[in-house]
């Protein structure tokens, strides 16, 4: 197992390296000069050139990349052009709120998506199945921002039950933090649950036709045992990949949710950085997200082995 993990980590190195090149190159292609942005409206060409020099933007592209990548390898993601703060520090402060939101949404997604999918998968063509289809269509079709605004209007404004925007850390004040978290997490988790439920339904429905399910029933096992221990466990193997990808989707989806619900986080930070051409912040954040996705994929890979011993022994 350890050698497998190490091998996967080793394989991730070129992926991260390639991602770093792509992230860096994309920003070079995007129109807009950070120096001009920083220089202000009254700046002369000399002012702009001085800023370019100060930021190292007048260096050859390759040199800029190697300098940035070399520092990143040492854990230094650079300094924000605008705030003069270390990117790592900005990332740390933005990551907490985003992970809080994403984790909560993920819990909602799992706790809604899996049971719904299992119910529909074990009752194909039943009322449950049709209800799930309707839920999935609505969940997938409604954009986050629309659902978010509708809920803000009714739940927060009309009913006054929950705040409209902002954030209180769930660790500092759990009750208040929950009040600020419940709407954005529900909106974010809703779409994910709709997608996940569809996958679970298909997977479970397929497994329910397998011989070992019939055998289990023939042995006289209770239906709940058949479903939970045999159908769900086997059906979950392909779903683990979906879940890992869904978590990544939640992270990116948080960009919109953070804006609608006025929550701090990585999404809003990176959008602001893109608008102001704050390259170090964009590069550092995207690189961190790439690393996160790679980690999640690795985690999914390891989970396969836990869920299915055949995969573990095949390694």
């Amino acid at each position: 197992m350890i050698s497998h993990v190490l091998r996967r980590l080793f394989e991730a190195i070129p992926v991260v390296a390639l991602a770093s090149v792509l992230v860096f190159s994309l920003l070079q292609i995007v129109p807009g000069d950070p120096a001009v942005n920083l220089a202000g409206s009254d700046a002369t060409d000399q002012d702009v050139q001085a800023i370019r020099h100060q930021l190292g933007l007048d260096q050859p592209i390759l040199e800029q990349y190697t300098s940035w990548a070399g520092a990143a390898l040492r854990g230094d993601l650079g300094t924000s052009f605008r705030t003069k703060l270390p990117v790592a520090e900005m990332l740390r402060s933005a990551l907490g709120p985003t992970l809080e939101l994403t984790a909560a949404a993920f819990l909602i997604e799992l706790s809604v998506g899996i049971p719904l999918g299992v119910m529909a998968g074990t009752h194909v063509r039943s009322l449950w199945d049709w209800a799930l289809s309707a839920f999935s269509i609505v969940g997938i079709a409604i954009p986050h921002f629309v659902l978010g605004l509708v809920l803000l209007y009714f739940v927060s404004y009309r009913l006054g039950w929950l705040p409209i925007g902002g954030r209180v850390s769930i660790f500092e004040d759990p009750l208040e933090g929950f009040r600020y978290l419940v709407l954005p997490a529900s909106v974010l988790g809703f779409t994910g649950a709709a997608v996940l439920a569809r996958f679970v339904r298909s997977s479970v429905a397929q497994v329910m036709n397998q011989d070992y399910i019939r055998t289990g029933r023939a042995k006289g096992l209770r239906e709940r045992v058949v479903i939970v221990r045999h159908a769900l466990r086997n059906g979950l193997v392909p779903i683990v990949t979906v879940i890992a990808l869904q978590f990544a989707t939640l992270l990116t989806g948080s960009v919109v949710i953070e804006s609608v619900f006025s929550r701090p986080g990585v999404g809003r930070m990176v959008v602001g950085a893109i608008q102001s051409r704050d390259y170090p912040v964009v590069q550092g954040t995207l690189l961190a997200l790439v690393a996160t996705f790679i980690f999640l994929n690795l985690l999914a890979d390891l989970l396969y082995g836990v869920l299915d011993p055949r995969i573990r022994s095949a390694r």
Binding site: V30, P31, G32, D33, V36, N37, L38, A39, G40, S41, D42, A43, D45, D47, A50, I51, R82, T83, K84, L85, M90, S93, A94, F145, L149, L152, Y153, S156, Y157, G160, P163, I164, G165, G166, R167, E258, S259, V260, F261, S262, R263, P264, G265, R268, M269, G272, Q275, S276, R277
Partner: protein, 527 residues
Amino acid sequence: MDTKLMDRRRLLVGGGTALAGAGAMALVGCGDDDDKKSVAPAATNAAPKTPKRGGMITVDSGEPAPDALVYAFNANNYYLRWAIWDNLVIKGEDNRPRLMLAQSFEMKPDFRGVQIKLRPGLTFHNGKALTSEDVRFSIETFRADSTTSQLKNPGKLITDIKTPDPLTLDITFSSPRQYMEDYFALLPIVDKDTLGQATQMKVLNGAGPFKFVSYTPNQGYVLERNPNYWDTGKPYLDKIQGRIYTDEQARILALKAGEVMHVNMATPAMVKAFRGDKNLNIEDGGVGGSWYAGLVVDFPALKDKRVRQALTLAIDRKRIAKEWGEGVIEPQVLPWPKESPAYIAEDEALLKYDPAQAKALLKQAAAEGITIPMDIGQSREALAQYVQDDWKAIGVNAQLNVSEYSAYLERFRLRKVEAMYVAPFGFSANMHPATFFDFAQPVRIPNASHYEPAAYKDLLAKITETDSRSPAGKELLHQWNKLYLVDDPWMAPLAPNVTYYAMRKQVIAPAKGAADAPPLSEYWLDA
């Protein structure tokens, strides 16, 4: 401006997220850099009652632009800037300086300098004494070559600063500059020991009515009362909490629900949504600039001034005000606030919607069917489409090229717009018109339209030297209005840039002196 430099109190402010949506604003008319709507600090409800001490208000703030906190005017920094840093003076409604940190402010009779006495006993929030050396440092800082400040150019008109004692400054200008008091009404007095930390939003140290407590990126900030404020008994509020909303619908709901109590950049759409809400007061800050279509005069099809005149005549401003301005704003072609000496009521009639005359002019110039590329920054396409439609009606093919705001802004700042663009600028009623011509990108020289004939330079020079309230000054300003609207247009006015404030009923935000800066020290809660 989205980003969004800062807000324009009607002073030198310009542009804005407001109507169109995103961006940064700049000082006096700075044209395009500012994307936030012009903000006339004149917020407010009349205050017939005795102010009460205590309480906290929550305000709707954009994400602060730390690199522009004190250096430029940016709507997102509106409350922070004016809560933390005081000036020597601000401009009053009578267009005269009102004293803040200065105990006296005496312009020399020949307008070649000013003598300033500071109030004794002034301190920064951290307890450090504020002296004439801090004023000198502030002037030097904001005009340094290494600084990208909107105050840089006027600051360079100062040739000598003498500080004979800790409370006195004797300042000399390079030439007679009556309007330099506008500069001092915009210059924040900063602390040299902590200024470097301001961009990190960790230490914001000034001598204003509120002290900085904390800031959470993308979430907001907290300010608390400065108990040692020079204006004894003020501020009335104990705290100001800034909350950052990026979605306009969320901002609207937040104010209606009472989560936010004061909004300084209400857009026409917001004003429309707030009308009829018994819990809210809407204040019209008045016209503080203009949205305009900039015309690059050396673009081949626009070299002939008859073509530019035609394009200006072809715009239906009533429709723009009704539809784009949500019926909230009234059409106006002059960029000036009505209280400004440059607002000459008769001049408003110089330019009227006249497509027939526009067509005739195009025919005379043999320019029928010309094509004009429109360089439009994101969030402004809605307004640009009205222009495109009106020009189509006279046979001009305007090609709408929309690009991401930062990319557009770069072309605008570097004066590389090819033919035409849409932008806002702002201006304060309390400012001398000459300040506008010094600061505002679209009208100063050089400008994005490349409009700089010798006669225009002469006119600006004369306006700068002349008392704007004298008959001669009025005549010069009339000449400028006529040139701008009719004779040789390089910008076509589209809609006035109007500032609205929205607040909960219990928030009392006096208008007195607000034209230069929001009098946050005088805000109070009538709970």
